[in-house]
């Protein structure tokens, strides 16, 4: 298992907790990302119904960064923050071209099997599952930030 780089211990101020860590640009980092995030979510007693979409969005955004810039040697920075209102997650990719993940994705979810193509669902699903999704690009640095409210769930119970 690959471990993240430049790990920082939780910074807890009042009821706010923040952790950040850099991860190698590889699908093999997904387990370490899950463990890193789960640790902070579990410590804050975040409901499973909220954890699932957080892990989902995090993986989709991270794997997108890996997929579209496979030769980039920079690690990807992950920042997770929790407070009474919910969870805020940012992923930052360095020295990359712009790729706005917030633009709407045309997906025909009613298409029959023979017309379906593998791929292209990830960003569509993120937009369904998180509360806010923001994209910033400056100095060849891409940052995607999403939020998910505590106790609020787009996924049915």
């Amino acid at each position: 298992m690959l471990s993240g780089l430049n790990s920082h211990l939780p910074a807890e101020i009042g009821k706010r907790c923040q952790m950040h860590k850099k991860f190698l640009r590889s699908y093999e980092s997904l387990e370490a990302i899950y463990e890193f995030t789960e640790k902070i979510l579990a410590s804050r007693d975040v409901a499973q119904s909220v954890r699932f979409p957080v892990h989902f969005a995090m993986e989709e955004l991270f794997t997108n960064m890996v997929k579209y810039n496979p030769d980039n040697s920079n690690d990807i920075l992950l920042d997770v923050e929790t407070d009474d209102n919910g969870i805020t997650v940012s992923l930052t990719d360095f020295d990359v071209d712009a790729f706005d993940v917030t633009t709407s994705r045309e997906v025909d979810i009613n298409a029959p099997l023979e017309q379906r193509k593998v791929g292209g669902l990830g960003l569509h699903l993120i937009q369904k599952m998180v509360d806010t999704l923001k994209y910033e690009y400056s100095d060849r640095q891409s940052t995607v930030t999403f939020t998910k409210a505590s106790g609020q769930d787009h996924v049915s119970d």
Binding site: Y27, E28, L30, E31, Y34, Q48, S49, F52, P53, H55, F56, E59, E60, T63, V107, D108, I109, N110, A111, P112, L113, E114, R116, V118, G119, L121, G122, H124, L125, K128, M129, H154, V155, S156, D157
Partner: protein
């Protein structure tokens, strides 16, 4: 940790987390199956869009010979991922019994 194997009655049993790093393992297993198949998700906690791609590719291959996958014991969160993806249209899906 993701695992995929045959159950006692020939069903396909998945467990753990099916993320992008585990798709090669899942696809390799599913490429070897044929006929009508039941896939038991009772121990599968999580699936990403990459995992959906594995299921879709398998369903398309099986459908060429008139076969398909039926997915059973799907937890609420994965069921919603299926619903948002329209997979409930192209797969027979049974949610976890409550």
């Amino acid at each position: 940790m993701f695992q995929i194997d045959f159950g006692r009655d020939g069903e396909i049993v998945c467990s753990g987390r099916l993320d992008a790093a585990q798709c090669e393992k899942a696809q390799s297993f599913l490429d070897s199956v044929d006929g009508m198949r039941v896939v038991d998700f009772s121990k599968l906690e999580y699936i990403s869009s990459a995992g959906l791609g594995v299921l879709l590719k398998t369903q398309k291959r099986l459908s060429e010979n008139g076969y398909k996958l039926k997915i059973i014991n799907v937890n609420n969160h994965i069921h919603d991922v299926f619903r948002y993806s329209g997979f409930h249209v192209i797969f027979e899906i049974e949610a976890t019994q409550r």
